[in-house]
Symmetry: C2
Subunit: 295 residues, 2 copies
């Protein structure tokens, strides 16, 4: 057997993403010789041990990262800094610290103060997910055919960046390097704004009085339903994402609101051409997605 990419891979936070990564690494010996896990929640630690999706579950972060050559933070974005702070002092010289957070500028900004010069920090974001969370929700093929974006920090070495790219490629992902600010703007429109709109329309519907609220549920097949799938996602994760990408997200929401107002005006004044043009764009985008097989 050829040398695996890592000797010891440590996953911190065994939710949907962390447990999927662990499962993949256990399945594919070329990723790491040993997979170690730590989660702040004792319930999750017990469950991960039961599931047998890692070689070893550690009782503390300190114990988990000892002698690991790669540590992957898979906790909510708001928990990245404290969980990094708790383990960095115990990491081995030359080891790689990476993360999977859905926002990148905030994670870099908050982890940087705790970094050591003898460690390599490589921020990354696998763009894959479902509306479920927790260690039971993960599966080893989650990242297949999806993108993982890597947002290297300034002045970092290229070799650890290449190793993190290799890690995700071994998980079946395509990888791409990108500036963190650019990442946050792109994700604001493709992911964070759609989630915000989905949560909001569920709230608007939930506020309707008795009878109307029931009808929303009963007649959901006519469009509403498509919004509720993504609105079923984890509150802690999404609260953190919204708060940690607020500038880009609020800017995209402002653009969207302007566009919705323009549509409202066109409806009010019967501007058929404008309305049809807007609808045609939706169709075009859908067609492009189907062409590039992302639909």
């Amino acid at each position: 057997m050829t040398q695996p990419l890592f000797e010891r891979l440590t996953v911190i936070g065994l939710g949907l993403i962390g447990s999927s990564l662990a499962r993949r690494a256990m399945q594919d010996g070329s990723i790491a010789r040993e997979v170690v896990a730590y989660d702040a929640s004792p319930t999750v630690r017990t469950r991960v041990a039961e599931l047998g999706i890692v070689h070893r579950v550690a009782d503390t972060g300190q114990e988990a990262v000892q002698d690991a050559d790669c540590v992957v933070l898979c906790v909510p974005v708001g928990a990245m800094a404290p969980s990094a702070a708790a383990i960095i002092p115990y990491m081995r010289t030359g080891a790689i610290l990476t993360d999977v957070g859905s926002t990148k500028q905030s994670v870099i900004r908050e982890i940087q103060p705790f970094l050591r010069p003898d460690l390599h920090f490589v921020p990354a974001h696998p763009i894959a997910g479902t509306e479920y969370s927790g260690p039971d929700a993960g599966f080893s093929t989650l990242f297949e055919g999806r993108w993982t974006l890597i947002t290297p920090i300034e002045g970092g070495d290229p070799e650890p960046v290449a190793k993190v790219a290799a890690l995700w490629q071994l998980c079946g992902a395509m990888t791409r390097e990108m500036d963190a600010a650019h990442h946050d703007r792109a994700l604001a429109i493709v992911s964070h704004l759609p989630h915000l709109l989905a949560f909001t329309i569920c709230g608007t519907a939930d506020d309707l009085e008795g009878e109307s609220r029931n009808e929303v549920l009963q007649f959901a097949a006519s469009g509403f339903r498509d919004f509720t799938r993504i609105a079923a996602s984890d509150p802690t994760m999404w609260r953190d994402v919204f708060l940690n990408n607020r500038e880009a997200l609020l800017e995209m929401l402002a653009r969207f609101t302007e566009d919705a107002q323009a549509m409202a005006r066109a409806i009010r004044w019967g501007d058929e051409e404008f309305i049809v043009d807007r609808i045609e764009r939706g169709r075009r985008i859908r067609r492009s997605l189907i062409e590039i097989k992302q639909a």
Copy 2:
């Protein structure tokens, strides 16, 4: 064999809905002895004949409705009045005229001037659909397990209403009577607003400059994609729906916009509790949908 519900059922407009109804009626002899079709488009008429999904395709509306005991208008909402006006003079005394339009007050208001006292008009709306359109998109099981809402006009006979309900029940639908104004408000939130938001976010994304626009497509899996499916729907149909339910739709959009602004404020000021509360509602609604098997 027992008596079918109708002797001759005429379907006007053989798109997704009309062709699905025709297919069902052809499959299930208890709906009608003969199924006749007419579409304004010669291409559609030729295609429907090729598909063999009706007994007979008529060359004119006049010919199609002759001797029919039930005529179903399945044209876009904006075409309901002209197509009703064109056929009503040739309908048989005592026949039922019904429609499938997604808005009900406007259809009733616009058809009423052309009605004859010896005909029965029963407005209805099968709440089922896909993002596809045209005669090839239809299928006989489209209405199964879905609701059809019937919005009887004031002073109408109960018997034709019962017959239209029976028609949709034979198509596998559950039926419910409802006031037209109530229908239009309910559909504004469950269907028309979600479509408006989906079209709008596609437009907002389409307006991004070069590189960012490509990224929207590539990273669509992270949420955006769920919005594009419903945004692929037919422009004529949706233009008509928006224009014909403008009051209720604009009111729901105003509520939604207020709610989105409240979310924006909470994100700007870091009001975690508010954000989590909103997200929790999304989850609750999703869970309710799963419970009542409409997810």
